[in-house]
Amino acid sequence: MEMTLLIGLDAASYILTLLLVCIGLVIIFGMMNVINLAHGEFFLLGAYTVVLLQQYALPFAVVLVAAFAFVALIGLIIEELVIRRIYHRFLDTILATWGISLALKQLVIVLFGPGSQQAVAPFTEPIAMFGITYSSYRLFVMGMAIMIAAITFLILFRTRWGLTARGVIANRQMASCLGVNTRRVDRVTFAFGSGLAGLAGAIMAPLMSVDPQMGVGFLVPAFLSVLVGGTASPLGALWGAGIIGGSNSVVAAIWTPVIAQIVVFSLAIVVIRLMPNGVTGRRKR
């Protein structure tokens, strides 16, 4: 019983962590159709913001907001300098964002060194419940993931700004003929997605070793989740994270992480083969 509960909690934790990393990708990859290989580095920058600001003993909430704002700003600059010139050039996007990814990673190495840094969790006391003890910070991460996903969906589906952004993505030229400054919407949307990646990195930092490679580990499963979930609706990421994260952690707990990887990739291939537009993808224009 305890074992099942523990595996269930671990699975939920992994799914929600993946969801947390996915949300930024949903916006930049799913909605804007930009393959941003520097997404992992945005995550990284968020984590390093925590390492840096914790030296000044700032409250954790302030640190999180700062990580979001800082990485959003970086995203804004990168959009203006690079991304806006290559929105419709698929391969160039991959090449350019890969370059940005390398540059950002090296910059971090120059500033902080190649070694791993430590971010401190604001609370570490494990919580005991139903006969098991579980890390309170992991529970916090899960709660944050749900909250951030909910807020993002509310912004996208319940605000004027979200409607504008979805309108621009659905039909850019018509939106601009209706008076929408599509360049401004692009900038803000990309910055928002980048900021969410930074926030995910900041929230995850205390659970991980903060080193220049930390972004990579989440990037592949996150992209897979968005693909499996489908990009027709931002809600696809929920499905994707559930399928990828759930199967990975359950199989890893029962067998080994290696078999889990094999199962996850096979599952992703099958799903994408049978449903090329993902689980939620009815159609894609």
Partner: protein, 234 residues
């Protein structure tokens, strides 16, 4: 109100579709632009809206030069565009589609849609329905309504009768007529359907090889159908 001079525009550099076109409109004018396929009717509307990549000449509208402005600035000086094929947002509800029409116009942002629903009662009835699930005629009404919520001074309509049954075309012509009169709007309508042109426009201008040729009052066409065949028959 609108003065177009020597307008050259097209999709490919060095191959203009419009070849030095001139046109003057006064406030309240309602003209139909007719001509054979490929003569530049749609291209002219697109040039006015600023969506063509290559454009030169002059478009003065309400004392502003529009050439080289991006479409959103042109929209915000008061020109609204109902494109061929309607281009409504299929995944948005009727209400959200209408909201998109004024979302970047601070003055209209908090207006109610009641005046629109008065012209188009079907849209009020279906305000929660997804745009993409409506019939062609309803989508066309939605596209026109979306253009109107921004309270434009000049309305550009591209083939509003396309793909719509004849009975609905008549109904729509009547609605448009009422809107033009009550809102004191200036209109350029590109149209092949003579029935709609007769019911809506005051004047007909013919476009040929990227130039606007002669114009006649709509009454003239009723009296002398030969004018039409001169410009429209193949």
């Amino acid at each position: 109100m609108l003065n177009v001079r020597d307008l050259k525009a097209g999709y490919i550099r060095g191959a203009p579709v419009l070849k030095g076109l001139d046109l003057d409109l006064a406030r309240g004018d309602c003209i139909a632009l007719m001509g054979r396929n490929g003569m530049g009717k749609t291209t002219f509307l697109k040039a006015l809206m600023g969506v063509l990549p290559h454009i030169s000449g002059s478009i003065r509208f309400l004392d502003q030069e529009l050439v080289a402005l991006p479409p959103y600035r042109i929209s915000n000086v008061g020109i609204a565009y109902v494109p061929q094929g309607r281009e409504i947002f299929p995944d948005f509800t009727v209400e959200q589609n209408l909201t998109m029409g004024r979302i970047s116009k601070p003055k209209q942002r908090n207006e109610s849609f009641d005046f629109i629903y008065e012209y188009f009662p079907i849209l009020a009835e279906r305000h929660k329905q997804l745009g993409g699930t409506m019939s062609g005629g309803q989508q066309q009404q939605l596209a026109i309504a979306r253009a109107l919520v921004g309270r434009p001074d000049l309305l550009l309509l591209d083939e509003p009768s396309e793909g719509i049954q004849p009975s609905i075309v008549q109904e729509m012509a009547a609605i448009l007529r009422r809107i033009v009169e009550q809102e004191k709007m200036t209109v350029i309508v590109v149209e092949q359907n003579l029935d709609l042109v007769r019911r809506l426009a005051h004047h007909v201008r013919f476009i040929e090889n990227g130039l606007i040729k002669s114009g006649v009052a709509v009454d003239e066409i009723n009296k002398n159908p030969a004018i039409i065949s001169r410009y429209l028959s193949v």
